[in-house]
Structure formats: C-alpha cells, structure tokens
Amino acid sequence: MADQNTDVIPGTLDMLILKTLSLEPMHGFGIARRVEQISRGVFKVNPGSLLTALQRLERSGWLDAEWRQSENSRRAKYYSLTRAGRKQLEVETEDWERRVTAIARLLRAEA
C-alpha cells in the first residue's frame, strides 16, 4: 500500500467535499472518512488540505458551518451545502465528466 498513490487528484478535492456534503451535513473528520470509504481507500484526504479547503469553500459561500454536539458530545463543526454550493457541484461535476470522457477517449485511441 505504501507504494500506491493515495493522494486526491489535484484540483478535485473541492468537488469531492461538495459531493460528500450533498448527501448530509458532516464534520471534517467525517468528510475525510466518507471519501476514503466511498473511494474504497483509493484516496486518503490530507487533513491540512481538507481544513484549508473547508475554510475556503465556506468563504466562497458554498458551505454553511455550525457548531454542534457530535456523537461523543464534543463541540464539532458541521458543514452543509448551500444553494450556491449545490450549483457549484453541478458545474464541477459536469466539467469533470467532460474531462474524464476526453481522457478516456485519448487512452482508448489505437495508435
């Protein structure tokens, strides 16, 4: 596993966060775990990048944040998607699919 690259593909972290939060509001650790679970361990999220990205998205108005008691009754910051965030997710998803299709076509092309 040490040899396998588990970095999130550069430029996609925002999209992954938005997608994860579109399912339900979550705190930072939850988001990281959810990304790992759903990707079946292919991606591991770097906590530093995650927290910076969360702050950035919150400033951009795509996320709302509120402090709630977490399961083990500690203060935790829960993030949820705003309307603008939902729209942004659509934009990024569309953009991503366009690019993936293009790359797939390139890779399939026979010399």
């Binding site: 930072g28 910076t52 400033r59």
Partner: protein, 868 residues
Amino acid sequence: MLARRRNADRDLDDEVEHYIEQGTAELIAAGHSPAEARRLAIMQLGNATVTREEVRAYGWENAVDSMITDLRYSARRLRNSLGFTTVTVVTLALGIGATAAVFSVVNPILFKPLPYPDAGRIVTISDRAADGSRADVTFGTYREILARSRWFDALAVMRPWQPTVTGEGEPERLDGQRVSASYFRVLGVPPAFGRDFDDSFDVPGAPNVVLLGAALWRRRFGGDSAIIGQPVLLDGVSHLVIGVMPSALENVLAPAAELWTPLKYDRSLPVQGREWGHHLRMIGRLRASASIEQAARDLNTIAGEPIAEFARVPWASLTRGLLASTLHADITNQVKPVLLAILGAVVLVLLIACVNVTNLLLGRSVQRRAELAMRTTLGASRPRLVRQLVTESLLLAAIGGVLGMFVAESGVRTLVALSPAELPRLNAIRLDGDAFIFVAVLTTLIGLAIGAIPALQLTRRPVADQLRSKSRSSTGNHRAVRSALVVAEVSLALVLLVGAGLLLRSVHRLLGVAPGFDSSRVLAMQVQTAGPRFGNDSVTQRFFREALQAVREVPGVVSAGFTSQLPLTGDVDRYGAQFESVRDDREDRSAFTYAVTPGYLETMRIPRLSGRPINERDLAGASVSVLVSQSLARRMFPGRDAIGQRLHVGSTDQPWYTIVGVVGDVRQASLAETSADAVYIPSVQWYVANRAMWLVVRANEVARLAPAIRRAVWSVDKNQPIARVALMDELVAASASDRRFALVVLEMFALAALVLAATGIYGVLAGGVAERTREIGVRAALGATRGAILGMVVRHGLGMTALGVAIGTAGAVAASRALGSLLFGVTPLDAVTYLGTAALLFVVSATACWIPAWRAARVDPAITLRTE
C-alpha cells in the same frame, strides 16, 4: 478584530482537536491502546502546527495579522539589541537625511519647472560672443527680432536698475529692473492689482511710471492700495505707481528686484546711443505651437540675413548667430555642475551607508542561523521567514527614514546657509511634499534592499546542515559576501574622497591665483549719488572729489580712491578699444574700462610698470590720459613702448586718448577667468557719467574704520546712500564660492564615507575573528606565532582595502570627469590626489584592522578549545 481573531483561533484548535479525537476513537475501536491510538492519530494528521499555519495563512486579515506579529517580533528583537539598532538607525538616518536635504535643494532648481504658467515656453536669447559664450544683446537686435521672428507670443528685454527712493522715511537704495513693456507678459504674471505696462509707457518722453513688488509695497508704503496713481520719488524724479505685483511672484531673472519701470529706449536706434550697447537680457515666450529648436533656427536665419530696414552696427552684426535656450536652462547653467556634484556625492554616501547596514545585518544574522533552522523544522516556510527578516529591515529603514527627516530639515538649512550667491530659486528650497514622497519611496527601497541579501543568504542552505553546525563558525561563502560588501564600500569611499580631494586642490589653486591687486586691509563700499541736484555731471564729480578728500582725512586711512567698477564684484563694464597706429582684426576688441580717481591704483596696489600714475592734473577738458594693462600693451605693441600711443575707448567721436602708463593685469570677472585687457581713465575725463562709484580705502585696521569712513562721506552730503560694504579679502574669497560650496559639502560627505568604510572593515574583521576563534585557537595550539596570526587578519583587511582601492580608482577616473568644469588648475587624473587618497584609505583601514588583529593574536588556545 483581534477578539474575533482569537475566537477563530480557538475554533480552529477545536476543529483540529476534534479531528484527532475522532481518529483516536477509531483506532481504539480497531484494538489499539488509548495512548498509542492518540499518537497514531496525531501522526496521521501530520504536523498539526503546519496544518494550523496553512489554514491560518488563508485570507487577507491573516496576512495583516501575521504582519503585525512580525512587526511586534521585530520591534522586540531590535529593542533587545540596542547597540546594533542604534548604529544601524543612525547610519540610515544620516544617509537618508543627507540625501533628502540635497534632493530638496536640487529638486526645485534642476527638476521642477519655473513658477510661471507654461514655464517651458519661456526662452532666453543671447548674442554669441567671440568665444562662443552668451553675451547680452543690444536694443537694436531686440527691435529687429521683435519685427522679424514669427515664433514668439511676446519678447522682452531688461537691465538692472538701482534707484534710490527718497521722500518720506530714510533714503533707501533699491534693486529693480528697467524692462520693456512686455516683460510680465513674457513671464505670464499680471500685477496683483493696478495695471501692467503698455507700449505707450515704453518710449522716450513718456510719463514715468513704476510697478511695485509686494514686499516693497508692504514695507515702504504700508500695504495701502491707495498707492495706485500716487507719485514716488526715485532718484529724485517723480514716478507714478500704476500697479503692485503679486507676492507670489518669483522673479528668477533678478531675485532681488522690487520695482520695475519701462526701459524707454529710442526706437529710431541712434548709432551712438545706448540702444546699441550690449547690456540687455532678452527673453521670449514661444508660441504654443513652436519648439525651441524651430525658434533657434529661425533666429539664426534672421541673424544671417540682414535686411535694409534694420541696419546693424559693426559690433552687433550678429555674424556669429544668436543663442536660444530655455530660461530654466539659462539660470541653472552655472550651478548645475555644483548641484550634480553634490547629488552624486550624496548618492555615494547613501550607498555606502546601505552597504554598511547590510553588512551589520549579515553579521548579526549569523547568530540567528540556529534559530531560523529551528523555526524551519517547526514548520515555517521559507517565504514566511524571508518576510519576517525583511519586515525587520523595513522597520529599521522606517525608523531611519523618520529620523532622517529631522536630519534633512537641518541639512537643508545648512546647505542654504552655505550656498553660493548665484544659486537661483533660494526661496523655493524647503522640505516639501516632494521630499516626503521621495523619503518614503527611498526608505521602502532601502528596507527591501538591505533585508533581501541577509534573508536570502540565510534561508538558502538546507536545514539539516544548519542544525548540524553547532558552533557559530560560518561558511566561506558567507564571509565572501561580507568581504565583497566591504570592498564595495572602500571603492565608493575612494570615489568620494578623490572628488573632494580634486576640489580641495582646485580651491587651493584658485585662491592661490594672484588677483593682480593686494586685497588685504582694503575696504570697499559703493557710494551712490541720488537726488535732482546730481542732474549735472560736474556736481556729481565735485561730490566724489570732496567725499574722497574727507575720507583721506580720516585718521588711520593710508590711501583711498574711487573706481567705476571693482574686480570680483560681478561688474563687467567693457568698451571697445581702438588703437590709432595698430590694426586690430579681432572681433572682440573690448577691454574692461575703469573710470578712476587718483589714488585707486595705489590703494589696490596694482603695480605701475612704466609711465606715470593718474594724478590731480588730469582734469576735465584737458587731453585725456589713460593707463593700459600690461597684457593689452604687450599684445598691441610687442617689443615697443606703449606710452605716447593713442586710442579710442567706446565712442569714436571723442578726441584720441593718450597712453601715459602701463599697469599690471587684474582678474576682474573671476579668479578663474584670464581676460585681462583693461584701460584706466580719469573719471573726470570719461564721457560716461557714473552716478555710483566704488570707494576703496586702505588702512591698517580698516574694518574698525568703516563707520568713520561712512561718516566722512556723509559729511559732504548726508543724503547719499552707501551700499555693498565689503572687505576686498571677502570679495576674493566669495569669488570661489561655488567651488567652495561643493568642496565643503563633498568634504563632509567624504569624511562620512571614510568613517563608514572604516567601521565596515572593522566590523567584518571583528566578526570574522569572533567566528574563527576556534580555528585561530587550533592554529595557535599547532604553533602559529602571534605575529603570524596578526598578519593573517591584517592581510585580510588590507587585501579588501587594496581591491576596493583598485576598483574605486577606476570609478573615480570616470566620476571625476563629471567634475570637469568645477576643477581649476588640476586635471581630473591628478596623481597627487589619487595617491594621497589611496594612502589615506590604507592608513585608516590599517587602523581599523588593528583591534581585531590584536584580539586574534591574544586568543588562548586552551580556553577556546575547552569551550567547544
């Protein structure tokens, strides 16, 4: 904002902590012990500090916040090393202050436009003298250009005027100008109230009118606007006041002028009249569409193509063409070399100061190496560290800049006090908004520059290296940078010292020039005649004769005499000299013409080489006797006796004058000037009446006699003003004033440069010895003698000096050419100056080497090795 900031920090901490707890809980569930689980969770998170820093660095308030933190941290550090801070700040304050002061002097004179609307369109027009220099124009030339040139909105001519105002209050001699009616239209400044001259005032026989300057109006006429239309008595003649000029008027052509009257020259241009004398300055306002090149071409076309309507006289034939330059260039022409020299010098001083401070910062940063390495390990990024270091240097520069403004304030005052008489726009020199902006920009640039080198130098090497080198020994690279800076300092100092040295020798040579007279114990004062009773020449002459008699009777007076012009006072009174028996084909045949009384040549101790002196028997009406200067006699009559030869001076309508004697040459216009053709004519026989004459008196304690001499003049007529009292010695000294100004300023700067260079050398060597104590200790332990260690340090110091001197010499050779016109009697490559300067630098740097070298030689190997 700070409160919110603290909340945000706590939130961030909570979030990170929550993250860790969640991870821990998960790991415990997976079967790890709680302590192990937490350790693993923290490891998974990576460097928590870095994470926090990354999150925190996001957003502008974080940038501001970290800047404030940096500033606070820097301030604390600077407070903790007060010695370093003081030296650095004082060095910077002096450098910045001196630069700002010089900038404040140079900026209004050389760089700002003159205080007139569209000042760039005002030009001066001059006749071209035989040697190519500018000469005053004649009224005839002015009339011709006025009629023929199409490139000017207005043209004007002017000459000085020194009337005496009488009537209410004491008689006062005033400075003014006689101007053509268009003068203020050319400048573009109308009167504050009343009206301007119009052409009807500017013809012979027109009523006498006068415009008053605001200061004179307030001082003498109580600032009463009812003065308009009232008469004032000027030289005993009634003049009607028609207007008052605004107080903001800056009359750069005659800064002292306080009143103006029309010229009133005869437009029919009589050949023998003053209309054809070269004594007017001409200015013009270019049309909006015209360039000065076009105008100059046109002027030369006119000069080259005389037309019948404007007949010219032979001495104003314009065959050499006309010169046009902007008014700004014209009035700054003379002081430009001086100002550029001190500007160059102060830039060098500032550079040296900055190099010195950089060096200090570098030296100090060595001690911080471990600290910075530690911070890097703890997660500080390189840009973050560079920013912190640069913040510190910016803070230093800012403090230096603020203190520098105080230095500049007194610097400006010193420069103005020292300034040569011909410096224009003296009133415009002050610390203004321009200077503040200049200092702000300069300070920022300096802060960035002096911080950048140490910051980059320091953060370049990998962390591990720096942590490993536990001792404070520095790398060769670091020392090389500091040595290079010292070499730069020495070479810059050499350039300055050579400049100051060359000027010193020039002034020395200049003051060593024999002026042709003995200036010691001679007092000079200008005695004027004013009032209607002097309308008659014989009355004027009787007054001067009686006044001279009265002065000679003052106890202690050795001799006394009057002259129409006095050497080194700025008087330039020249008339054409035409000899009866010798053809003179030179274009410029003019000679300085002195109308003198008996006793003048004797009082000035101008040596008589042959013939007889002017004496009391040379009376009005008798055949005119003249004395000529040696150089004129030698050139006109080589190998022959000049005595008995005849000539005309000025007007050729007069009977021939006979040469009765030959006297020594005198420096009239300046000590540096060599033109020495001169004729001396008894004042009673000279056809030009002089209403003002210079009285020269020789006495043993002449300064003490000044009041008695003045009383003697007034005993003849108490209404006659006496102006410009000065010792001849002072006039000689003032004649070198522009060079002396540059010299004094350059000497101060050179001294500062020398001190800075010396401290630079000392600093590097002392630092080097301190860093290398261990190495020196090892050498000593291995048997190096004290002499060898001493030699090693001194060699390093002198090596830097030698390299600096070599580079500086090349720079000085280039820079000293810029001094060209300020030098007198020395070449820019004067060997004595270069060798002397180099020797001085070596002596100073050897002294600076001595203390560190001595300290190195006393290093005790046992102690040093133990401390490691």
